[in-house]
């Protein structure tokens, strides 16, 4: 009964979204306040109904209701509770329900936090947002009903893919979706501004917190996914340039560009049409990402479904929304006149350079991702585009970006000079070269990657610190009174530096050892002594495990005792490798147990991964920077002044 009510609630929410896409838009056009105001209860109603629907499906998973097809195919009574819950979105239908839940959540947030928006503009934003949610309600109801019942409920379920039964991956999709879908707000604001025919500093100030929030969630989501790949897939890779990873990385790059160009609109009223275009593209790439993951057109490790009908539907949604918005854009772009005037060397120019680099690097990722498809369609060439291409084609952009970033960050608005901008950065420059020399001297080989990565990282972090110091007028007490936006900016930029260091150190200086280890016979890897003590068979809640006990020693002292495992999930008929990692600040010791050999030994792989955790630490620091910026007074003022519009009602 609850399941049918959940389904019914979803249909009602669909109806509300249809009402909300039309009525407020007409109201805004005609200036009818009553019609505009319809958007608020409908947006709240959509959230409540979709929330109920999601709760009903979650309940079916929690209570293992095997009369629901989705529960049968993705759950099992023996599965731990947390994975019963994460199983809700560990499949196509359920993840789509989560997607619409977040869409309606953002719509409702626009009502709650948007008290300050002019009513006509707000009505348009909510109408556009409702069109997006209507499209996805239609998608889920017509092609991917999560509430389908089984005629004959089986005794037990078929279990969730064991690779997905993991804490890192349990929360990877919700964060990613908060990011993807958060960009729909930027899209709605952009389209509403195009309908209105007006983009100004206020618009940029409204759209920026939504974009920032979406970017923070995307950063966390991508980091969780990469962290999961690192410890779960068994050889410690953290990024594979897989189509689905690229699908999340492209919106991240574009939203980073959008964050920066919106600053120029807000402060200087320039780059308006470009910023609108970025807002459309950011959500466009989210939709393309959804298409890539769900259509199975580009084969990838985590494609959900291989269903052409669903792919066609998402492609149609993408085409209609992006195409429609771009058409509107070409009609209205000429009305958006830039106001700010600035010199060739200025903060504005630096932010333009940032946008060029981020947008073009995103283009490179995009073309690399779809190239196999293009080559097969037009030239009948079946080929692969893998990490070697992306490493070669993408990395240079990030190197240039990292070099320019600290200089651009201290550059004054309107007109500056490079020599003046470099003055506060002299210390950072010296430190960067010191880092280069140190890394060069310490490393054993002569690869350029490690030292250059170190230098760039030091440059970014020290540059961010120098910038804060400059803004504080070289005085300590003032440092703590700087606006949170300044802190947010410096922290986020330093986070990028930390990630750059982690990636280059890990890639350049990793040590690897593959061997047959005999029980009780120690062996040495890069200064560590590893001893295989025993291998046991252990039974988990829903799996069987071959678990090794291994001791890691350094200079005769015990560093850690680790338990790498090989698991078999009998229900899903699938083996997984569970690496054991001793996490450290300067290195991870990463152990993997393989098969038993004929001579009684075990295949063992040992990796010493220097500074691996810095990759994700940097992501956390970047998100923290974004969060700090979000709590800045400017945005709180905009929200806090919500009671004012009643008195200052626009004369519409």
């Amino acid at each position: 009964m609850l399941i049918e009510l959940g389904h019914f609630a979803l249909i009602l929410a669909f109806a509300l979204s249809l009402v909300q896409s039309v009525v407020p838009l007409v109201g805004a056009h005609k200036g009818w306040r009553g019609w505009m105001a319809v958007a608020e209860p409908t947006a709240n109603g959509q959230l409540i109904l979709t929330g109920f629907s999601f709760a009903a499906l979650t309940w079916a998973f929690v209570t293992s209701d095997f009369s629901v097809r989705l529960v049968v195919t993705n759950s099992h009574t023996l599965k731990p509770m947390i994975y019963k819950i994460s199983g809700v979105w560990g499949n196509h239908e359920g993840s789509l329900l989560l997607w619409v839940l977040i869409l309606t959540l953002f719509g409702a947030c626009a009502v709650w936090f948007g008290q300050n928006l002019p009513p006509r503009f707000k009505a348009r934003v909510l109408a556009v947002q409702a069109m997006v949610s209507a499209a996805f309600f239609g998608f889920i109801l017509f092609t991917s009903n999560p509430f389908e019942r089984m005629a004959l409920p089986p005794f037990d379920g078929q279990d969730l893919n064991p690779l997905l039964q993991d804490p890192g991956l349990a929360f990877h999709p919700p964060f990613l979706y908060l990011g993807y879908v958060g960009l729909s707000m930027a899209f709605s604001f952009a389209v509403a501004a195009l309908i209105e025919g007006r983009v100004d500093a206020a618009w940029a100030r409204w759209v920026r917190p939504w974009t920032l929030a979406a970017w923070v969630f995307l950063t966390i989501g991508i980091a969780l996914g990469s962290w999961w790949a690192y410890y779960e897939l068994g050889w410690g890779g953290f990024w594979f340039w897989d189509p689905v990873e690229n699908a999340s990385f492209m919106p991240w790059l574009i939203s980073a560009a959008l964050l920066h160009s919106a600053i120029v609109v807000e402060k200087r009223e320039a780059l308006k049409s470009w910023t609108i275009l970025l807002a459309i593209m950011a959500f466009g790439f989210s939709l393309i990402g959804a298409f890539i993951v769900r259509s199975g057109v580009l084969t990838s490790v985590h494609a959900f479904a291989n269903d052409p009908e669903r792919g066609t539907y998402i492609l149609a949604i993408t085409g209609i929304f992006v195409g429609g918005a771009l058409t509107l854009f070409t009609l209205r772009a000429s009305q958006m006149q830039a106001k700010g005037v600035f010199g060739l060397v200025s903060r504005e120019s630096a932010l333009v350079a940032n946008n060029v680099l981020l947008a073009v690097s995103c283009f490179v990722v995009f073309i690399g991702t779809i190239w196999p498809l293009v080559a097969e369609m037009f030239w009948d060439r079946k080929l692969s585009v893998g990490p070697p291409f992306f490493d070669a084609a993408f990395t240079p952009f990030m190197v240039v970006l990292s070099i320019l970033l600290p200089i651009g960050a201290v550059m004054p608005w309107k007109r500056g000079s490079i020599a003046k901008a470099m003055r506060p950065l002299r210390g950072a420059l010296v430190l960067a070269f010191a880092g280069l020399a140190l890394a060069w001297a310490m490393q054993s080989g002569n690869s350029a990657l490690g030292p250059v990565g170190t230098a760039l990282a030091v440059w970014l972090v020290a540059g961010a610190a120098s910038e804060l110091w400059l803004r504080a007028g070289n005085r300590w007490p003032r440092l703590w009174r700087l606006p949170r936006a300044d802190w947010g900016k410096a922290v986020a930029h330093a986070g990028l530096g930390i990630t750059v260091f982690g990636i280059s150190a890990l890639t350049a200086w990793q040590a690897e050892d593959i061997r047959v280890a005999q029980i009780g016979e120690p062996f040495d890897v890069a200064g560590y002594t590893i001893r295989l003590d025993s291998v046991d068979r252990v039974e988990g809640p829903n799996y069987l495990s071959t678990m090794a006990t291994m001791t890691v020693l350094r200079d005769g002292r015990e560093v850690a005792v680790l338990h790498p495992e090989k698991r078999v999930y009998p229900v899903a008929q699938m083996p997984t490798t569970e690496a054991a990692i001793d996490n450290g600040i300067t290195r991870d010791v990463y152990l993997v147990i393989g098969d038993r050999q004929d001579d009684g030994g075990w295949a063992v792989r040992t990796y010493i991964k220097p500074f691996a955790n810095w990759i994700w630490l940097g992501c956390i620091v970047m998100s923290l920077g974004g969060f700090l910026s979000l709590t800045d007074r400017r945005y709180r003022v905009a929200v806090g002044a919500r009671r004012a519009p009643a008195m200052a009602a626009p004369a519409e």
Partner: protein
């Protein structure tokens, strides 16, 4: 042996475990050759996998390819000869790094070309901004000015 342990060992035996990436028995005695084999493996696609190199993959086919690469190296092939041998047998699908030939030139040139184009447009835009007339800065309407004062007064 208890009943439970018996079931456990039977279950473990029943499910065929895949070979993990690079096995100890594949490793060549000559470290220089092994190093070359690893580098080559990283650029070769495991044909039955989804976007994994044979160096990373657990699949049987990847193991066969890894052994094949090592056999060719031991037989004295150069890196290029090994790659040509594999491309002749499996097509260019096996290469993770697309070759710089024919239509693939578009892929490789797309990034730099786009950078030039975007850089050019940006340069023209920046020049126009430098020359532009400073418009009337005080372009807020009275209504907006009042609203701004209210917000700032909070």
């Amino acid at each position: 042996m208890t009943m439970r342990a018996l079931i456990l060992s039977l279950a473990l035996a029943a499910v065929a475990l895949p070979a993990a990436a690079v096995q100890p028995d594949e490793v060549l005695a000559d470290p220089a050759l092994e190093e070359r084999a690893r580098e080559l493996s990283k650029g070769l696609r495991c044909l039955v996998c989804r976007n994994e190199s044979i160096d990373e993959s657990n699949a049987e086919l990847a193991r066969d390819l890894r052994i094949l690469v090592r056999e060719r190296l031991v037989a004295g092939d150069s890196d290029e000869e090994v790659i040509r041998y594999l491309v002749d047998r499996y097509g260019e699908f096996v290469l993770l790094k697309p070759t710089l030939t024919g239509s693939n030139l578009v892929l490789w040139i797309a990034g730099p070309a786009m950078l030039l184009l975007a850089g050019g447009i940006a340069a023209i835009y920046l020049r126009s901004r430098r020359r532009a007339e400073e418009p009337d800065v005080d372009s807020l309407s009275d209504e907006e000015r009042r609203r701004l004062d209210e917000i700032l007064a909070d």
